[in-house]
């Protein structure tokens, strides 16, 4: 077995030192009836690298990779180009195979990039502080709601109808235990009235922009109304590239920003692992979930970084911790921070412009197809179309022609009649003119 260095001789000598006649002796505390042999497992024996690679490659070949076809899926996960240097750097042994930086003297590499990452996230979101990442955007949103409930000591969370339905489901799982969660009505293509739902029991209003249909939301009126009633505004961003062109949530009055960082540095990976971004105001930092890297000095006065404010965390506070989270999304957050560092201000803004330009051109092309109308008038790199009949069937038809044309509304909202004919379409810098033409042509043929 290529991963196991001990030889039979080694094992014998080691058992001798221990004074155990055989390996079974070491398992003597296990109840006899619970000890099973190899035959108890209907599973194959070990295999060489070649055989494993062959088996997995065969499975991979049964999937249609996004990059192999004209591709337009978004709705919370986006296909962007990731520079080669990113994947090379995150696979360096010292990043890939290190543990959480609990021994800061020999983990300054991790701690410094976390500190840089926190700075980048705070800058992008327009907030004062950010943590060292959470699992993903949906769990970050759920943690934001719990944090708002703690800060305001109020129970109610109001979720915009434009919040990604998976995010809403995730929030409900926990938010409904610690309080109540109210979902505002679904209004694809326009902002719903959230302000009239805010009352004295409201801890927070959760608004996603661009929302799940791609619509850009003005957070300012909701922020004002929430603050007037002592509630907090949680802004959710699932396409972080949008902040290269759009006003930051912080500038629009958000108190907490929960976002998905997958678009920068991270592949689609069929839904995970991704990287949750979490930013807030400095005055709330002691109620923040997750790890934080902070600056300090060593005994020789040199600048260094440590994990800090751990008195919020489970390993110190146990059942009184702000969250049960014990991990961040380390390597994904490294990929994020490297990609964003490569882009820099100029590259990031250009990336955002390229995304918006491609989406705007695509929307124009598709809306010109007879029977198709554009539902979202104001959008970044994703928009929603209304089709003349069920979008899911059209998506399946187009998939047979090797075009992955987007996410049908019914995939996310299967029981909302209003979502049945809606198709959520994304374009990024990876979308070519040929892709757009192929999509428009095929959609036209499919509908004619």
């Amino acid at each position: 077995m290529r991963y196991l260095p001990l030889t039979q001789d080694d094992r014998r000598v080691m058992l001798g030192r221990i004074g155990a006649p055989n390996i079974d002796t070491l398992f003597r505390d296990v109840p006899k009836e619970a000890v099973v042999g190899r035959e108890a497992f209907a599973l194959p024996d070990h295999q060489g690298e070649l055989e494993v690679e062959r088996a997995l490659a065969r499975l991979a070949a049964k999937n249609v990779a996004a990059g192999s076809v004209p591709f337009f899926c978004g709705a919370g996960a986006y296909r962007h180009h990731v520079p080669a240097a990113v994947d090379h750097l995150i696979q360096r042994s010292e990043f890939l195979t290190s543990y959480t930086p609990y021994q800061p003297e020999i983990a300054q590499g991790t701690l410094q990039y976390l500190y840089e990452f926190q700075t980048q996230v705070a800058m992008l979101t327009g907030m004062e502080v950010a943590n060292a990442s959470l699992y993903d955007g949906s769990t970050a949103t759920s943690e934001a709601v719990l944090m708002a409930q703690r800060l305001t000591r109020r129970p109610k969370a109001i979720l915009s109808g434009g919040l990604h339905p998976h995010y809403a489901g995730t929030v409900e799982t926990l938010g409904a235990l610690s309080g109540t969660v109210v979902r505002a009505p679904l209004t694809p293509g326009r902002a719903e009235d959230l302000i009239s739902l805010i009352d004295a029991e409201t801890a927070c209003v959760v608004v996603q922009s661009p929302d799940v249909f791609g619509l850009i939301r003005d957070l300012r009126p909701v922020a004002e109304a929430a603050h007037a009633k002592g509630a907090l505004l949680i802004a959710v961003v699932t396409e972080i590239v949008s902040l290269g062109l759009l006003e930051s949530p912080g500038a629009m009055g958000a108190d907490i920003v929960a976002a998905e960082g997958q678009s920068i540095g991270n592949g689609l990976n069929f839904g995970g692992p991704y990287v949750g971004l979490f930013a807030t105001r400095e005055k709330f930092v002691r109620q923040m979930p997750g790890r934080l890297a902070g600056e300090t000095v060593d005994t020789e006065g040199r600048r260094g970084f440590v994990l800090t404010l751990s008195t919020r965390e489970q390993h110190i506070r146990r059942e009184k911790a702000t969250s049960n989270i014990c991990t961040n999304s380390g390597l994904c957050c490294l990929a994020f921070t490297i990609h964003l560092a490569l882009l820099g201000e100029e590259g990031f803004v250009r990336l955002a412009r390229a995304n918006h330009a491609r989406a705007a051109a695509l929307a124009e092309k598709l809306a010109a197809v007879p029977g198709v109308s554009l539902v979202t008038q104001s959008f970044f790199n994703e928009f929603t179309l209304k089709l003349p009949n069920a979008a899911a069937q059209i998506v399946d038809h187009l998939a047979e022609r090797n075009i992955l044309s987007g996410v049908p509304g019914s995939r996310l909202l299967p029981h909302e009649p209003v979502a049945r004919d809606l198709l959520i379409v994304a374009a990024t810098e990876t979308t070519t003119d040929e892709d757009a033409k192929a999509f428009a042509d095929a959609l036209g043929e499919c509908l004619s």
Binding site: T170, P273, T296, T311, L331, L343, G344, A354, S378
Partner: protein, 521 residues
Amino acid sequence: MTMNAIGRPTSTGAATPPSPPTISGDRGLDHEEPLLFELGRAGVSGVDIPPTEISGSRLGDLRRKGAIGLPGLSEPEIVRHYVRLSRMNYAIDAGLYPLGSCTMKHNPRLNEKMARLPGFGDLHPLQPQQTTQGALVLIAELMRWLTTLTGMPAVAMSPKAGAHGELCGLLTIRAAVAARGEKRTRVLVSSSAHGTNPATAALAGFSVDEVPAKDDGHVDADALEKMLGPDVAAIMLTNPNACGLFEKRVKEIADAVHKAGAYFYCDGANFNAIAGRVRPGDLGIDAMHINLHKTFSTPHGGGGPGSGPVVLSVALAPFAPLPLLVQDGHGFRLVEDRENVPPGARPFGRMCAFHGQMGMFVRALAYMLSHGADGVRQASEDAVLAANYILASLKDTLSAPFEGPCMHEALFDDSFLEGTGVSTLDFAKAMIDEGYHPMTMYFPLVVHGAMLIEPTESESKESLDRFIHVMRALAEEAKAGRLERFAGAPHLAPRRRLDETRAARKPVLRWTPKVLPQAAE
């Protein structure tokens, strides 16, 4: 003086005094590295993206007004920055990493390669399911391995880390209790448990009572049985436990828990000690998360991402969260909403967007296929053997609070340091100067000055012998009162001890620009 073949002197010469401070501030291969924000400048980018004319903007009046403030750097500068940072980190690839309960085993590179196949890595979670059948088969295959190895009938795949798996398990239990029309508000947690256990129970809406540990390191089963009652929803026990011991009375405990109408949650953090030899399902466990990043070696990545699937008993399986993976005549299908679930399923909700940590699933399955059931069993045996070898080799020099044998980790306390003036922390930091990552310190809490050593199956006997030699020698130095190497250690790391009090008292959590940035375009 000796000369080499081309006539250059090769002698190291006479002993020289310590080298003076360098002019650059760097020392040989050790480079100091500024922050990105101190290196960058405007107008440079490491990515070439042509400027785009936007005709017919759809952004409305919400365009960003100010600049973001991100620094600009070219690709070579970026590569150098991160390579230099990486060299300030310890890593399992570079040396033995004996962190108890963390399982720092070798991360095979094949697994990385497989996760990057475009058919897995470049797959969107919401593309039509007929175009992702290979991915769904892979998940089903991993589920088969997990349920077979644990002897449990079902598994929830979406939890994103161990603590997320614990939460999933407790929410499943909560739903099962509610479905019986009962109100059970308490969860019993063993005192040696990881901090996530009580934090998770509280997050899931339960009150937490601590079950004491006995002097022999096992949970006090008698006390536990007395604490059970009609208001107890579950117990949370780690087995093998955080003292590195297998809970001998586990089946008895399970029977008592079930008799009281409660469920048995097992923290599976230490499954790597028993995988392939013991099936948790045979022990009466109702739910257990499996840290794919421990037992099945998906890389720790400096603190994540993890993955924490939860295996479930027959009683709990119906309440597993969305999405559910089902098979029908057309192949595999993910059921993503409550209304379309198969008969009998009553999912409690959703843990996260999409379907879990697919990238980790691919790596874990590659690990499993490589090891096979025989290799998984051998790995567990070797891990337990290595820990016992360390325990046997060190217990006369260090102090072991409990009689062996241990499972996959060897626990020591600080009584061997009594009167030396050296603390567990000093001892651990001195290990850094010897080229080792310290062991887990001050955990579990039930032992004074705990040092928990988990060598894993990845170390050769030579590597273990060298580690044992260094540990013995360090202990003897402390006992002999030669304290220079302990005081203020580490001396040879990229940084000396860092002031954590200062970091917490006045938190500086980000770099702040001295002048406000200007817009780039």
